[in-house]
């Protein structure tokens, strides 16, 4: 073999050794898991995105920033927290409307008319259930903003994991002025369970 061929073989062997070392190094580092004080336990699959309800300022950018139209962000109402008021800040623009007329008024907070009011208990001044129709909700956060400004803070925004396309880089993260969109493990399921606030992971 000519010296040049020998040199080439040597370099290729060296390259292979280096490549194998680099690959296994990265694998050990990443698969070895995070530090002990890490925010999450490393999941076996993938990450998704979720709104941190504590940081959200209800600016309404979620409705337009999502790559998906209509947005994967929807407003929800926590039934365990809702005050079931006769007149709801997240539902009515003008709360001075007499209670018998609320059912027929068209001065509603939601431009999509997604906030639904159904009678639950008692008479006309009894208790009402407020829910948000996901078919019509576009995530504009107007209802959640009103509820959090004046009401019992039961309405908030979530990114629905069944609608989220799971982009590696979430477009809403860039638009969000309050850094409220967080990368979260898709499991355990508790993180997306129901109309609750997300569990604080820290």
């Amino acid at each position: 073999m000519s010296p040049e061929t020998t040199r080439r073989h040597f370099l290729i062997r060296l390259g292979r050794a280096f490549g194998v070392a680099a690959l296994s190094g990265v694998a050990v580092r990443v698969l070895g898991g995070g530090s002990r004080d890490a925010e999450f336990v490393q999941p076996p699959h993938r990450y998704g995105w979720q709104v941190n309800a504590d940081a959200c300022t209800y600016c309404g950018l979620c409705a337009t920033a999502c790559v998906r139209q209509p947005s994967a962000v929807k407003a929800v109402n926590d039934q365990k927290k809702c005050s079931n008021c006769v007149a709801c800040y997240g539902h009515l623009c003008d709360l001075k409307v007499a209670s018998p007329l609320i059912a027929t008024t068209d001065k509603l907070v939601c431009p999509q008319r997604a906030v639904e009011r159904t009678h639950l208990l008692g008479g006309i001044d009894g208790a009402y259930r407020y829910s948000i129709d996901a078919d019509r909700c576009n995530g504009c956060a107007l209802c959640a903003r009103q509820c959090n400004l004046h009401g019992n803070k039961s309405m908030f925004l979530i990114i629905r994991p069944d609608l989220c396309l799971g982009c590696n880089e979430c477009a809403i993260v860039h638009a969000c002025p309050s850094k409220a969109i967080e990368r979260v493990p898709l499991y355990p399921a508790d993180d997306f369970r129901g109309e609750y606030r997300l569990e604080q992971t820290s």
């Binding site: 990265v26 580092r29 982009c167």
Partner: protein, 347 residues
């Protein structure tokens, strides 16, 4: 003297107090009707408390985790079949057909984000913060690299959905060859983009490959459609209206990329893709490399003209024709056009 002044002050306070009380009483009487209007009428009592206690929260299920394992399995399966196609020198159209399957499943059905190109950024992030990388992502990143070390960039030529869009589009006869000088300069771009990817993901938490990917509206649109279809069949939630993914800008970039890709084959793979650097480096020291047998070659240069990524060129001394393993995407077109069966694999 405190003893004499004290009664004066307290008497003034007492008068103030009574005055305030009177004003408040008048306000309360006159404003009671007003205050009632602002009370939203909160519901209370044992019945409503029972309702709240028994309210079952609605669940929003995450995509079934089986999908993620299936993705890794599909990538591994396609890679293995790609290795078989490449190593046994099957016709290039077989490899193209497999790319079609990869485009359909990994691209349109799974949204193109089962994508080792993007996983490059995730794994780079994982070097800094391992807990931020899912294990499936890690697998997707590693498997094509291991295969590249074993038998070249099979991933690019036979599995990658981004490569598939470009490959299936650039089969026209109107290919434009990039001049060799410019080609060599542009080859530095992916390296720079890889460095920029690392920089951005470490210091700004951004994912450069995903920002640069021009094909994502196409993939996401397909993915959203499939998601909706799946929801209809599995009784999940599906929105009633039409779903549009990506803004006008994204679609314009897609059209531009498709137009450029029509004339310059695999333009993204060659001059943008940061993952191609890693694959290329491992492929160039790989255990199996596509080479041209100098004894059989008659230097007709047909393969040079056929190669979509311009990986075949004359050697430095001008006596032989060589394939750059760094650039070769194992599409098999050179072997198809060679009349002398000079293109072969070398251990």
């Amino acid at each position: 003297m405190p003893e004499t002044e004290a009664p004066t002050i307290s008497s003034i306070r007492w008068w103030n107090f009574t005055a305030c009380l009177t004003v408040l009483a008048i306000l309360a009487v006159s404003g009671s009707a007003l205050a009632e209007d602002f009370d939203p009428g909160r519901a209370s009592g044992p019945e409503i408390q029972a309702y709240r206690d028994h309210a079952i929260p609605q669940e929003y299920p995450s995509p079934a985790r089986g999908w993620f394992y299936a993705d890794v399995a599909v990538v591994v399966g396609l890679l293995l079949s790609g290795v078989w196609l490449v190593r046994t020198h099957r016709p290039a159209r077989w490899i193209s057909a497999q790319l079609g399957v990869a485009l359909l499943y990994l691209g349109l059905i799974r949204g193109g984000c089962i994508c080792p190109v993007g996983a490059t950024a995730n794994v780079l992030l994982g070097i800094a913060r391992p807990e931020l990388v899912g294990l499936a992502t890690m697998g997707l990143f590693l498997v094509p690299l291991i295969v590249a070390l074993a038998s070249g960039r099979v991933f690019c030529g036979a599995v990658c959905p981004l490569g598939a869009v470009q490959h299936l589009l650039s089969r026209s006869r109107e290919e434009v060859r990039v001049s060799p000088g410019l080609h060599r300069v542009l080859l530095a771009l992916p390296v720079l983009i890889l460095l920029a990817t690392a920089g951005e993901v470490w210091f700004a938490h951004g994912f450069l490959p995903c920002q640069l990917d021009p094909y994502k509206p196409l993939f996401f649109q397909g993915h959203a459609f499939v998601q909706k279809l799946t929801a209809l069949f599995t009784a999940g939630y599906a929105e009633p209206g039409w779903i549009l993914v990506g803004g006008g800008m994204a679609w314009a970039i897609l059209l531009l990329a498709l137009l450029v890709g029509w004339y310059i084959p695999r333009v993204f793979c060659r001059y943008v893709c940061p993952y191609s650097v890693l694959l290329g480096l491992l492929a160039s020291v790989g255990f199996w490399r596509r080479e041209i047998d100098a004894n059989a070659c008659i230097q007709c240069e047909r393969c040079m003209k056929e190669c979509p990524v311009q990986a075949i060129r004359r050697s430095a001394d001008g006596k032989t024709v060589v394939i750059s393993s760094y650039q070769c995407v194992q599409c098999g077109r050179c072997a198809d056009v060679c009349n002398r069966q000079a293109v072969c694999g070398k251990e």
